[in-house]
């Protein structure tokens, strides 16, 4: 079994163990209501994390996801509010908005060969301002977050039976993306672009097009999450999503996709997301202060990264020793 499979297994085991421990420690944890809430929270972060995983596989980063959530949420709410058109039109508008912003990110990064961190940070600033500008204002010019009563919109934020709608959407998205990554040429190109862009280009891969596509997907996922968020809260606020980047990054990193690129998959991200949501929920259920959440998450990230890095060094040392043995057996050659 490959290292990543082992890692995933360990993580899943830990998740189950922690879940079990929490169930014993707090009676409120293992109830249908709470688990559904937990899954809903996880899905909200998870949808964005799926897109972010692809970005990370290409060794890039997208700092604008929070702002994309804000703007696309504003976009879809304003659309509903001003036009009173049926809600099934608004979803494509919001998603298209997310793709457009993602395209913009990808275009600037590849065309001008600028670092991803800087470009997406700049976009973030632009979008944060844009969200405030397009926000619905009342007669005196103050931002007034409007309340949307469209029934389809409500359905989005609601549940089928006890299961929130967002949960199966998240898992479906994750499965589809995993499939895409592992079973299509385009998916292989994403890995190649991240692992060794020079080699990828030499092999004929259009790395620029791959990168633009990846950032578009990231924007799409953020927009999808925004639709669910505003549906759940029946409104959109310019502050939506700001600060959510940390949770997304945590979920993806814990799930086993490193910043160095070329490796990673969606299953890891799914488990990482569930892990994160469980920890956060558990902390509250145990009655601890919510301020412990970021400390716990930070601590986990540090441990995860240290173990990953240590293991990588360990594996390389083992491989190097094996190679040297082989050389000695094959005969001296320097």
């Amino acid at each position: 079994m490959s290292i990543s499979a082992v890692r995933r297994l360990i993580l899943t085991g830990l998740l189950i163990a922690i879940g079990a421990a929490l169930s014993f420690a707090s009676p409120a944890f293992f109830t249908v209501g709470n688990l559904m809430t937990l899954l809903q929270e996880a899905s909200q972060t998870g949808i964005v994390a799926v897109g972010f995983t692809l970005v990370l596989i290409t060794a890039g980063i997208d700092m604008s996801i929070g702002a994309i959530i804000a703007v696309t949420a504003m976009l879809c709410v304003n659309f509903l509010y001003y036009t009173h058109l049926p809600a099934y039109l608004f979803i494509p508008v919001a998603l298209a908005g997310g793709c457009a912003i993602g395209w913009f990110n990808g275009f600037v990064i590849t065309r001008f060969k600028l670092p991803e961190f800087i470009v997406t940070l700049a976009t973030r600033g632009l979008l944060t301002g844009l969200a405030l500008i397009i926000a619905v204002k009342d007669a005196d010019g103050f931002v007034k977050n409007v309340f949307i009563e469209d029934p389809l919109f409500l359905r989005f934020g609601g549940a089928i039976g006890p299961v929130y709608f967002i949960i199966p959407v998240f898992f479906a998205l994750a499965a589809a993306t995993q499939f895409f990554l592992k079973r299509t040429r385009a998916g292989t190109n994403v890995y190649a672009t991240g692992a060794n862009p020079a080699a990828a280009r030499l092999s004929g891969i259009n790395t620029a097009r791959t990168l633009v596509g990846v950032y578009m997907f990231s924007g799409f996922c953020a927009a999808l999450a925004a639709v669910f968020l505003s549906a759940r809260m029946m409104t959109a606020m310019p502050e939506f999503g700001i600060g959510s980047e940390m949770d997304v990054i945590a979920a993806v990193v814990i799930g086993g996709t490193p910043f160095t690129g070329g490796v990673g998959d969606i299953w890891g991200t799914v488990i990482g997301t569930l892990f994160l949501a469980t920890i956060k929920n558990g902390i509250l259920k145990l009655g601890l202060s919510p301020y412990i959440q970021p400390i716990a998450i930070g601590g986990i990230i540090v441990v995860v990264v240290v173990v990953d890095v240590w293991y990588k060094g360990f594996a390389e040392a083992v491989a190097a020793r094996a190679a040297r043995q082989k050389r000695l057996l094959d005969g001296e050659g320097a």
């Binding site: 299509t184 040429r185 190109n189 692992a195 080699a199 990828a200 070329g262 040297r324 094959d330 050659g333």
Partner: protein, 508 residues
């Protein structure tokens, strides 16, 4: 001369210059179908440029090219080259880590499931294994690249080219990181390719390989084609003569070697470093210039780094100034033992700092007073000293070193050491990237240094420089000392022959 349809490639009158000196002039070059053809020449003779033109990485200025009967336009680019079936085997440049052999072979050309746009993994692995087995390699299609040795990865590169229907395979110094067994395997592969009608263009410094493999050899020198030898005419000695072939004036017809009579400053005995050096024994004495020659990859720089204390070693003894010495960089610096590295831009200077800064940083102990505070005045003095001693131009201690010319930068690097009470100085490639005038100055500086009693070790790939500067020359090959030139006259040819393993000698 054979018929036209036997020629896969015909080049005539190829010219190329990169905004200045002419890199290739009027080169004629041809390849026959199904032959193993070697391209040889010294560093800078133009081999890699010719390869780049063939593969479309760069474009020729003038000259005609006909491949497989088709005229190739001047703008011939990479995609066109690939489409024609011209493949280059790089060391590791075009493999994707984290993926398997099969994935790498079929990258962007993966077989798809019928009707769907999904990769047929089973089929891909089968096709890859088929290819592997056809050539008799010991690989599995599902092996991950990360776990393969360099030789095996090279094989994957070759397979990748084969799967793309290559008709010409260019291999550039393919054996430099391979073990002897892996090299032998590679030669087998090459012969196999030839048997299947694929033309192989082989570029190497290693004469015995060229001798073993080639059907024909083209020799380049200073950007011109000097000769094309058929199989019967190939002999390593002849090739070397053609490669060097300078008209020899009296001065350069040979340099006298001199045995120094000073006390030994550094004594090395039985030094072994795994994978790099084997049983190195030598001494360097006060006032002598000891030169190390050898081909690229023979271990010269590795030896210098090991005796200086940068890289570790597993066996052997070193004595410095008569006392047992365990090399460490700090100890070496403190003990008057200096090292001027090969890549001065990377390892020798801090381009953003001034001359004073650069020299100052290397000599903080000399310019700081009590409590470790650095004296700006002392630093300036040191800088001025160095500038005068070495004639650095412009003579301004505040200029950022990055703005100086290559020659002057090198002087600053050397200058760092002059302030100290030097006993031994190692200089790796003293004049690389420096123009002729500055080279002369550097030679004089080094000579003066030796005359003043410092032991100087130089490493140089420039044979003329090596033979001119050195009082004694040791030649390395594959991590061992294979020859010592300590008396009589030595020519560049002699050194090159020894480096190539042709003039062996039983050590005294």
């Amino acid at each position: 001369m054979n018929g036209m349809n036997d020629d896969l490639l015909l080049c005539a009158g190829i010219d190329k210059s990169y905004n200045g000196p002419q890199v290739l002039s009027g080169v004629d070059f041809s390849l026959r179908r199904g032959e193993i053809h070697s391209l040889v020449g010294e560093n800078g003779a133009g081999k890699s440029t010719l390869v780049k033109i063939l593969t479309g990485v760069t474009q020729r200025d003038r000259g005609s090219m006909v491949f497989d009967g088709r005229e190739i336009p001047l703008e011939h680019g990479r995609t066109a080259a690939q489409a024609l079936g011209i493949a280059v085997i790089y060391q590791e440049l075009s493999l994707i880590h984290g993926m398997t052999v099969a994935q790498n072979i079929f990258l962007t050309r993966e077989p798809l499931l019928p009707g769907l746009r999904l990769i047929d993994r089973g089929k891909m692995n089968r096709m890859a294994q088929e290819l592997i087995d056809r050539y008799g390699f010991r690989l599995r299609a599902t092996d991950v690249i990360d776990g393969l040795s360099i030789g095996q990865r090279q094989t994957v590169e070759i397979l990748k080219a084969l799967s793309g229907k290559a008709s010409l395979m260019i291999m550039d110094e393919p054996t430099s990181s391979l073990t002897a067994a892996e090299s032998a395997q590679l030669f087998e592969i090459i012969r196999l390719l030839k048997a299947r009608g694929i033309t192989v263009l082989y570029i190497s410094h290693r004469m015995e390989e060229v001798y073993q493999l080639s059907d024909r050899v083209t020799v380049l020198r200073d950007g011109r084609k000097v000769a094309v030898l058929e199989r019967e005419q190939i002999s390593p000695a002849e090739i070397i003569r053609l490669m060097i072939g300078r008209s020899l004036t009296g001065r350069e017809s040979g340099n006298r070697m001199v045995r120094s009579s000073g006390e030994p400053v550094l004594e090395v005995e039985g030094l072994c470093a795994e994978g790099r050096l084997v049983d190195i024994t030598f001494q360097v004495r006060r006032g002598e210039v000891l030169g190390f020659g050898g081909l690229v990859g023979s271990g010269r720089t590795e030896l210098m780094r090991t005796i200086y204390g940068i890289d570790p070693f597993q066996a052997g003894r070193i004595r410095y100034l008569g006392k047992p010495y365990v090399p460490s960089v700090a100890r070496s610096i403190a003990g008057g033992y200096g090292f001027v590295p090969e890549e001065r831009r990377l390892q020798g200077i801090m381009g953003g700092l001034s001359i004073t800064g650069n020299i100052g940083i290397a000599n903080l102990d000399a310019s700081s007073g009590r409590f470790g505070l650095v004296s700006g005045g002392k630093e300036l003095d040191h800088a001025r000293q160095a500038i005068t001693l070495l004639n650095v131009k412009p003579a301004d201690p505040d200029i950022p070193v990055g703005n100086l010319s290559g020659g002057n930068q090198q002087k600053v690097v050397v200058g760092k050491w002059l302030i100290r009470d030097l006993k031994l100085l190692i200089v790796d490639e003293p004049t690389v990237g420096i123009d002729i005038g500055a080279k002369e100055e550097m030679y004089q500086t080094l000579r003066r240094l030796a005359d003043s009693g410092v032991a100087v070790i130089i490493v140089s790939s420039d044979l003329a420089e090596l033979t001119r500067l050195s009082d004694r020359i040791l030649v390395l090959r594959k991590g061992r000392i294979v020859r010592e030139f300590a008396e009589g006259t030595v020519t560049e040819e002699d050194v090159l022959m020894a480096s190539s393993g042709i003039l062996q000698e039983v050590p005294p």
